[in-house]
Amino acid sequence: MVARAAREIAPGMVVNLGIGLPTKVVNHLPADFPVCLHTENGMTGIGPALTPERADRNLIDAGGAYVTPVPGSAYFDSATSFAVVRSGRLDLTMLGAFEVSQTGDLANWKIPGKFSPGAGGGIELAQKARRIAVLTTHTDRAGNPKLKQTCTLPLSASACVARIFTDLAVIDVTPTGFALVEHAAGTSIEDVTKATDAPLTIPDAPIPTF
């Protein structure tokens, strides 16, 4: 699924990869792929992550991982960093999710009573990137669907998600709800439907696998 999500990145894009699974997308991009990776703590042009032994103590990404620059990197303050996001210069962000609704609402920052570390930069990424993709397991650890008719958790942003990449499928959020785009090799369409807690439109055409 991570490799599949990497193909969502078009040449020339400015992309922010959220903490967790999305960060791994970078490992599936060709070495000379023309792309600009952005991180909230004030950098464009992120290169590969580093082990602590080789790390620069002043160079981390927003998740705290030690990273490298690429030729042409730039560093800037936190206000400028979010100016990139809010002013429409971020072409794509890939975020994790607790829940995604069939209208594209995203909940990914708070589970009342259990997990409330603060929203960090997630609200602005979800609300203002030009395209929001979600990268998540199709169900949570207890097997409950994350794709739902409506979100029950506090929202990060409403009607923001365009596409969802899971271990089972690639699903678009359309004006009429979830629509299957691809399914994982070894997973049936029925498996995907069963693991999704909302109607799933299945196109008439053959569904590719990934």
């Binding site: 970078v26 023309p34 792309v35 042409g72 206000a79 002013s87």
Partner: protein, 230 residues
């Protein structure tokens, strides 16, 4: 991963400017004014333009060429004191002028670049600059709502650029350039020098290339950029 290359011929970049466009132009006096991009916009001929620029340069210099050619309908600015020609156009009604306090023009442009809707400020609240502005009370204090300014195009002059569009300015040629370079969906930068990717210290970048669409190296530093002998 490598960063995209945004080098472009000036004419091709300027050709994207349409009639009726709103165009931000960097510079405070001569320093930082993108003289070559302005000359190209005169040659291109797009008309009914709204310009946003701190000042109107001086007669026969910088954006005065666009005023002379009649391409400008409206000017959002702070001070025309050095351009009697622009003041004449304003007084005759041939040019619509909106004056802002200088730091408020800067903040409105910055707000546009930062993707916020407006700032609340008390600057000029006792003066005629407050006329017609929305007043917002916060914790009992009245403020003027100063809406964010964005443009269709921003024309920028930098000292040094790299192919990704990272820009560095020198001395007082910085002024409005870094603000305007964030506040338009089409940002065109001329640079006195374009150096290879990696040759600009990432800590010395004033405008991250992520905001810039086209970058062109000047083939000549013309007399337009020279010290003014008044």
């Amino acid at each position: 991963m490598r960063l995209p290359d945004k080098r472009c011929a000036i004419e091709a970049a300027i050709a994207r400017i349409k009639d009726g466009a709103t165009v931000m132009v960097g510079g405070f006096g001569v320093p930082g004014t993108p003289m070559t991009l302005i000359r190209a916009l005169v040659a291109h001929g797009a008309c009914d333009l709204t310009l946003i620029k701190n000042d109107a340069n001086e007669p026969g210099m910088g954006i005065d060429h666009l005023l002379q050619s009649g391409q400008v309908k409206r000017l959002i600015t702070t001070h025309l004191g050095l351009n009697s020609h622009a003041i004449g156009l304003m007084n005759s009604g041939a040019l619509e002028v909106e004056f802002n306090a200088q730091g408020i023009l800067a903040e409105r442009i910055r707000a546009g670049g930062a993707g916020i809707g407006a700032i609340l400020s008390d600057i000029g609240i006792d003066t005629e600059l407050a006329r017609g502005k929305q007043v917002v009370e916060m914790h009992g204090t009245p403020y003027l709502a100063e809406p964010a300014l964005r443009a269709d195009v921003a024309l920028i002059h930098a000292d040094t650029a790299d192919p990704f569009g990272n820009l560095a300015y020198v001395a007082t040629a910085q002024n409005f350039n870094p603000l305007m370079a964030m506040a338009a969906p089409l940002v065109i930068a001329e640079a006195e020098r374009v150096v290879p990717l990696g040759a600009l210290d990432p800590n010395a970048v004033h405008t991250p290339g992520v905001f810039v669409d086209h970058v062109a190296e000047l083939t000549e530093i013309t007399e337009d950029y020279a010290v003014v002998r008044r």
